[in-house]
């Protein structure tokens, strides 16, 4: 059983206390920087509005992640089987990856139609999250141990046996590392896409953030940010747990 490290918890409590003390001592206006107690109060007060919105954003992020895992793994498999395809299309995938998502967003929104913000958000989040899955799965599929490769050739393994018993288990740790990165990125992708879509139709957390900003409800903005950070941490924790289980 791993013992809990109290150092970051203590540091966090100390920072919160300092934040609370300084904002009160210097009487910083709440609209500029609310104290943590006010953010806590906003979280409780606005909870009924923020929590369902967080659920929507999390749902979109998880859907985008699932699509990214499926799509990224499938393309990696095709690339690994047909190196010519990887050589031909790899550079274009890189171009798409290197283009900022904010710049692509208006185009995607036009293509999906302004009435389909959910579809646009998913596409944009997948564009961001799919690449870590693709590159890590491809690296994993290529990392087969040459000695084991010879052993499978010796025993005349079929390509299905080779895939299931050699390539997939070799690629699994690589793929999981890629999925961990993709999980964070899918959340970022959804949040950015919700911002750019600029619509409350999906009712996601970013929209509540924009709404609170327009009303100068800074404490609510911080409460929404807190929920976003919590969601990112939860995703990371679940995937780290799976990774640890795989190692033992």
């Amino acid at each position: 059983m791993k013992s809990i490290d109290f150092a970051p918890i203590l540091a966090g409590l100390l920072m919160l206390a300092l934040w609370e003390g300084l904002t009160r001592f210097f009487q910083v206006p709440s609209v500029i920087l609310p104290p943590p107690s006010a953010i806590g109060a906003a979280l409780v007060e606005r909870g009924p509005l923020l929590l369902p919105a967080a659920g929507v954003t999390m749902g979109l992020a998880l859907t985008a992640l699932a699509i990214s895992i499926g799509l990224g793994t499938l393309v990696a498999l095709i690339f690994a089987r047909i190196p010519l395809l990887e050589r031909s299309l790899g550079p274009y995938a890189l171009v798409l990856q290197a283009t900022p998502i904010v710049a692509i967003a208006p185009l995607v929104i036009i293509w999906t139609g302004i009435e389909n913000p959910r579809r646009a958000i998913l596409i944009l989040a997948v564009i961001v999250a799919v690449f870590p899955v693709l590159t890590s799965a491809l690296a994993g599929l290529k990392a087969v141990d040459p000695g084991l490769d010879r052993l499978f050739r010796l025993h005349k393994a079929s390509s299905t046996q080779r895939f299931l018993r050699l390539e997939l288990p070799t690629a699994a740790p690589f793929l999981l590392a890629g999925i961990k990165t993709a999980a964070g990125l899918s959340l970022v992708g959804v949040v950015v896409a919700e911002f750019v879509a600029g619509t409350g139709a999906t009712g996601g957390l970013s929209w509540r953030l924009v709404e609170a900003g327009n009303r100068l409800e800074t404490a609510t903005m911080f409460a929404a940010l807190f929920l976003l950070a919590l969601m990112g941490l939860a995703l990371h924790a679940v995937l780290s747990l799976i990774e640890r289980q795989m190692r033992t």
Binding site: L148, L151, F152, L154, P169
Partner: protein, 252 residues
């Protein structure tokens, strides 16, 4: 070795080329059931290449190689320089791999894997993962895997080079035991003259690349026990092998 035992491994005028480079041969060789032939020779002379060709992992440019087998399988047992174990699988799953690839059902293959592990002294490590095993134990798992589908021949490519003297002797004894109990044809590559003499019925000394058989040294058919290591028969065979190897060095 009774000459009427069937030939299990054979090479006839076998040559291997890598591009324009002549790597091996021409070589003629035969190993009978119940016989252990050891290949000695300088690095790069093609010993491992010959083993790979007999295992079907390397095509010959000319001539013929054959690993004759019984039981409808034409795959010899092979132990490589590295154990080559799947880190994500237990010892018994590693040993059972050749059977799994043949489509043997799970219960039957695990039963046979456990029997093979018992044969190499690892019965209580069936559910251990490779990272928890020592180098010598990992090699035992590799040996069990090579024996699990009851091959008629066994090819070993410097398998115990990285293992300490005592561990190596124990593994050599396992090879001799498998040869005796299952009437295996064994072809063993090593750099160690002492190991060669201890294991071999015949030692074949190869020339530098492209490897050809330079000398054949017969080792007396006496029990392989600690007394053999200090016997005149052992010393004579080792001296003969060293003489051929030294002559190659002088010629080079």
């Amino acid at each position: 070795m009774p000459s009427e035992s069937p030939i299990r491994l054979s090479a006839e005028q076998a040559c291997v080329r890598f591009g324009r480079l002549d790597a091996l041969g021409p070589i003629d060789l035969s190993v009978r059931a119940g016989e252990c032939v050891v290949l000695l020779g300088p690095s790069g002379c093609g010993k491992s290449t010959l083993l790979a060709a007999l295992a079907g992992l390397q095509a010959v440019a000319s001539g013929k190689v054959q690993a004759d087998a019984t039981g409808g399988l034409d795959i010899p047992g092979v132990v490589f320089q590295e154990p080559n174990l799947m880190n994500w699988a237990t010892a018994e799953d590693n040993v059972a791999l050749p059977l799994a690839l043949l489509g043997v059902d799970k219960d039957a293959r695990l039963e046979r894997a456990q029997a093979a592990l018992k044969r190499v002294g690892l019965a209580s490590f069936a559910s251990a993962y490779p990272r928890t095993l020592s180098g010598g134990m990992r090699m035992r798992v590799a040996l069990a895997r090579a024996l699990v589908n009851d091959p008629s021949s066994l090819l070993l490519d410097e398998p115990f080079a990285a293992i300490d003297e005592l561990g190596r002797r124990a593994l050599d004894d396992l090879v001799l035991e498998a040869k005796r109990d299952h009437h295996l044809a064994v072809l063993f590559v090593t750099h160690s003259v002492d190991e060669a003499v201890y294991l071999a019925d015949r030692i074949l000394v190869l020339s530098p690349r492209p490897g050809r058989i330079m000398a054949e040294i017969a080792v007396p058919n006496v029990p392989r026990d600690p007394a053999f290591l200090t016997s005149p028969a052992f010393a004579d065979a080792a001296a003969a092998a060293r003489r051929v190897l030294s002559a190659q060095l002088v010629a080079a």
